[in-house]
Amino acid sequence: MITFGTIVILGILISLIIWLFFRENKVISWILFILYTGFSFVLLLRLYGQWQYYEAFKSIIYLGNIKIKFTLQNNMLGWIFAILIFGISFFNGLFSLGFSKSKYSKNIVPLWTLILSASILILFAKDFILFFVGWEYLTWPVFFIVNQGKKKFYSDSMYYFALNVLGGMALMLGIWLVFKNTQTLDIKTSISILLSHKASIHTFWLLIPFFIAFLVKSAAYPFHVWAPRAHSSAPADFSPFISGIMIKFGIFGILLFIYPLLSKGFIPGTYHGVPTTAYFLSWLGIITSIVATVLAFSENNMKRLMAYSSVANVGYILTAIFLTTPLGIEGGIFHTINHMIFKVIIFITLAAVYFRTGTADMSKLGGIAYKMPITFMTFLIGIIAAAGIFPMNGFTSKWIIFQAILEKHFYLMAVAMFFASTGAFLYLYRALHSIFLGQIKPEHRDSVKEVPFLMQIPMWIGMILIISIGVFPGLVLKPLIPFFNSIGLPAKYILTSLSKLPGSFGQLNTLNAAIIFGFAAVLVTILFFVVAKHHKKPFMDNYTAGEDPKDWGVDENRYQFAYGFYQPFEKKFLPFFKRSVDMFWQYFGFYTKHLGEWFNNIFKDDNNFGYIAIIGIVIIFIFGGFVL
């Protein structure tokens, strides 16, 4: 059975069929999407263990004198990504099937299917060309998904598109630079040939295009500006995909191409056993997470806030990976997977809130938890995981990342990461409070109710996954053992049981800790229910001391404290961060436009054509050395 080919071609076909025939029929198209992802998921599952499996195209493509036979090669890293992508898309599809009936939704299935089939190319490509093909098809369809043909979303989607095209162009440049140095377009071969070259400082330039391409895609620091914009404009049920999956392709690219080079000393110079370049990139990861964290404090749009959280998490992952130690890779990959799961869940709950209320402004929400308890619980578990608090999966991977940093004795880096990590707690709590807790708005009091069961399925699955991975990290890490062996992870860092977190500075038995936690929770619960009785009262009865707020000239309906939550903090720190990067890209666009205007004016001035042409001829002569 041809797995990859089937998935790719089926994806393209389904995309076409949906676009041609079922564009208006959301139910059929989402059902097709669910069937497609489920089918592909099952197909992919069968490939576990068959790491030698490959599929080659029959015919050979010539580029000039270069012969290329396209091959898709099964590999561990790609497989685990693919499984997660299709699994997550499957459940996301279930959610969207319910979501798409709402008036806020537009049919995005064809493009999404196209992206999924492109992702197979990226994950399993043996050569750079197929990788690039997948990369480009990951880029442009999202532009249309993000703006949905709406003018108000245009500039947001353009931020996304322009930056990602920059990444694509950089990738093209990088691919050919590698080709120039190795005379091959095969990824694995080119890595080994590059490593056999004598390392020199010039090799650094070779990697810069790849850095740009992958950092743009993963929304790392100087390029992170697209992430919040794209998330906030995209349809609510597509945001999980952007955050959970799309930005992970940058990480995948780094693991695929940059990590093998850097870890083997492709660029000379090391600092405490870490390649100097990688060390600085590690700090870039830290900067990414700190900047994103600080920006998230003042964000009022819930999707933007969570997008910043994604950027921050990408920062942790980059930090871990660029330590270029096996333990760092373990932590980085583990956090990637965990982040995929919990961020998808968080965005799905946000979509559920949006589905019922129709707004993404946190200051217009509040008290939704009382009407949507399942959604609230899912969100709560999601943010506990996102903050890296213990019984959830976010903690386990953060533990390994911290251990990896400490293993290299980068203590300052650990402190800086701690800042970002604690900051995450702040903005996540703010989202929890502003969306779900506090007082409910009168217009939501009757209209909002829990989402239908179909849309709850992914939430339940997500909750179970988050908690079970948090308690048994081995569920994820054990199947990955072949991969960790291949990168040379020392045996002491390989998980022996389901629940022992490895670490350089000590291990942790998550199961025991969870038992203790459960014990404490049960104890307190018993205590709470054993002692005196309690009875329920409406909100206003207590804090207003039984008086009607209207008597004091206060509208009782609007006393939800959400806007400017960390105002003292914002006042002190924000202007600096807000200015530097966003402004840079804004000015970039602005001046590009003016450059265009300037060029355009050359053509518009109709009288100058003669002398411009003559000047051209003169320049040609100058080139030839006649005048000078």
Binding site: K604, D605, D606, N607, F609, G610, Y611, I614
Partner: protein, 121 residues
Amino acid sequence: MFWLFLIGSIGLVLIGIFGLITRSHLIKLLLSLNILETGINLTMIVLGYQNGGKVPIIHSLLDLTKPINFVDPLPQALVLTSIVIGLGTTALALILIVNYYYKTGKLSLERSENEKENIDE
């Protein structure tokens, strides 16, 4: 003689270029173009000309056993073609200019107000 012709023809070329650069009046542009063309045609003739050369026609008075200093006939043929093409072009240009004049009432390619683009958002 050769150099005089050459300098003269290059001078004509330069005059033509000068006209093309500095004038905006369409008829003057066209005139400059024609001057340029004349200059280049003259250059061709000059380059094909041999000092003291004969007309390249074989007739009974010629002694074909001795080397004969013929003038190269090909450039002249080429120039003839070039002149014809130049004539056609000029005619077409004049028609276009006349049309343009009827359309806009102007004889130079100024930017007109009614074709302003609506660009800014």
